[in-house]
Each structure stands twice: as C-alpha cells, then as structure tokens.
C-alpha cells in the first residue's frame, strides 16, 4: 500500500499512526498476496494479521481521543464507523479461525480492508483535520 501526502492531516501523532497503519496493512497484504501456496504462507499471514489487528484498535482509540480533545462534532458518527470495522474484523477472525484458516475468507477480508482503509483515511479522517484547521486547533497536538 502506498502512502500519499494527501492523506496527511497535519496532526503529527495521527499522521505518524496512519503511516504505521499503512505499513502494517501493507505487510499483511504483501504476505497474503505472495505467489506461494497457502500452506507455505498461512503462518506468516496469521502473524502479520495479528500484528496489524492490534494496531487498528490502538489507532482508532487514539484518534477518537484526539477528536474528543478538539470537541469534534462528528465524533459519535466517526466512532460508529470505527466500531463497525472492529466488529467486522472480529467476526471475520472468528470465522477464519473456526474454519481452520480458510484462504478464501482471508482474501476477501484483505480486499475489503484495502479499499475501506484508503477511503477512510482519505475521506472520513480528513474531515477531522478540516474541522481542526477551521477551529484553529490543528498542529498543537504533536
């Protein structure tokens, strides 16, 4: 996954987390898509999956904290979007484990995650920055 400058919010702590998030999701997808058999890669897929999942939750939490700190009016709606994604990740993970690590489930999950994350960072998260700049509270949080 490629990081683009247009994803920058201008809030140093969130921008650093987004870069890290893209890195971890990118590593997960690279492993998921590597041209070897599923048996050969399933262990590394599971490792990068866990490494990425933990960070998603951490980032969502920190970003919600930041929104509260600037009294972002879209906080509730944004938290709902985060919660829906966390629930989806948890549901897929459970199904994936009880299926004995079915590849199709993970490929579908990876594809959706790719599009979801780009849209969320490029669109929903940008609105936090737009508000912070408008209110003159951007930048001081790093």
């Amino acid at each position: 996954m490629l990081w683009k400058d247009k994803y920058e919010l201008g809030v140093p702590i969130i921008d650093a987390q987004h870069r890290e998030l893209f890195q971890r999701v990118g590593d997960f997808l690279k492993t998921l898509r590597s041209p070897v058999s599923w048996e050969e890669k399933v262990n590394s897929v599971n490792e990068t999956l866990e490494f990425m999942k933990g960070y998603v939750v951490e980032h969502f939490h920190d970003e919600e904290e930041y929104q509260r700190s600037i009294s972002y009016p879209g906080y509730e709606a944004h938290k709902e979007v985060h919660d829906d994604m966390v629930n989806y990740v948890q549901e897929v993970s459970q199904e994936y484990e009880s299926s004995g690590y079915n590849e199709k489930l993970m490929q579908q999950f990876g594809g959706r995650l790719l599009s979801w994350l780009i849209n969320h960072v490029a669109s929903d998260d940008q609105r936090i920055a737009a508000y912070a700049i408008e209110k003159g509270v951007a930048g001081g949080e790093g």
């Binding site: 579908q108 999950f109 594809g111 599009s115 490029a122």
Partner: protein, 148 residues
C-alpha cells in the same frame, strides 16, 4: 430530484475515483458496445424512498488496474481479493449517494454488495445505464429504481 438520481451516482463515482485512485480524467461515454456479459457485476440493493438496485459493471482490466493503483501490487486475475476490493468501492460510492439523497430529503438504506443477476422484474420507473471512461478503462452503472 428523482429524475436526477443517475447524475448523483455518476458524481459520487467520479469523486471516489478521484479520491481513492487519483483518477481525474473521467468522461461520459455511451452505453453501447459495453461488454456487459464479461467482467464483474456488483449489485447494491436499495431500500427506502427509492427501492431497487444499482449494478456496477467493471471490465476485468479495469478491476485489475484499480486494485493495482490501491495496493501497489501486480494483480493478474479477478480473484476473491479483487472482487472484494471492488465490491467495497461499489459500497463506498453507494454510501456517498445515500448521503446526497438524504440532503434532498430522500431516505434510503443500502444492502451489502452481491454478484449481479439478470433482471427478472423489469419495468422500473427509473431505469438507465450510464457509463464513464477513465484512463484505466470504463465503468457502467445500471440503475433500476422505483419510488416508494
């Protein structure tokens, strides 16, 4: 407003393509000669003040290029990963259209993306096919809606 629903879908598609894929060179094209039986057809069901479905049709080359742009990885077949990534884009576009409809006092909900099926009902009040052309290929939207 209702007669303009298709233009909201086109506008939302353009916006998402620009935002997510950095594709800004997008023009309208005629629906003629669009290969509807090959490639990916993704249906998003709509309920509420408008009821029916919108089908997004992506030729395989278009799907592959889109996923390549987003992931930075080469993809050579429209597999489960690609179908899911493109389905999520159809979901995102449709979600943005809902927001635009709500601003025009039309309240609707969408259903999760599913593979499109041939039309069995027919006779929709709003039935149209709109196509756009991008630097990574064409996309067609087939709109089949009834007012509640």
């Amino acid at each position: 407003m209702r007669d303009n629903v298709h233009s909201l879908f086109l506008e939302a598609t353009r916006n998402v393509f620009q935002l997510m894929l950095d594709l800004s060179d997008i023009s309208d094209r005629s629906a003629e000669n669009f290969p509807s039986d090959e490639g990916l057809g993704i249906s998003i069901g709509i309920e509420g003040d408008l009821t029916g479905e919108v089908i997004y049709r992506f030729p395989n080359d278009t799907s592959l290029s889109m996923v390549n742009i987003m992931s930075g990885m080469e993809v050579d077949s429209v597999d489960d990963f690609v179908v899911s990534a493109i389905s999520e884009i159809a979901n995102i576009i449709s979600g943005n259209v809902l927001t635009m409809l709500a601003e025009n006092d039309l309240k609707c909900d969408i259903q999760p993306p599913v593979p499109s099926k041939p039309d069995e009902n027919g006779g929709y009040e709003l039935q149209t096919i709109k196509c756009i052309s991008t630097t990574v290929g064409d996309v067609c939207l087939e709109i089949r809606l009834n007012a509640a």
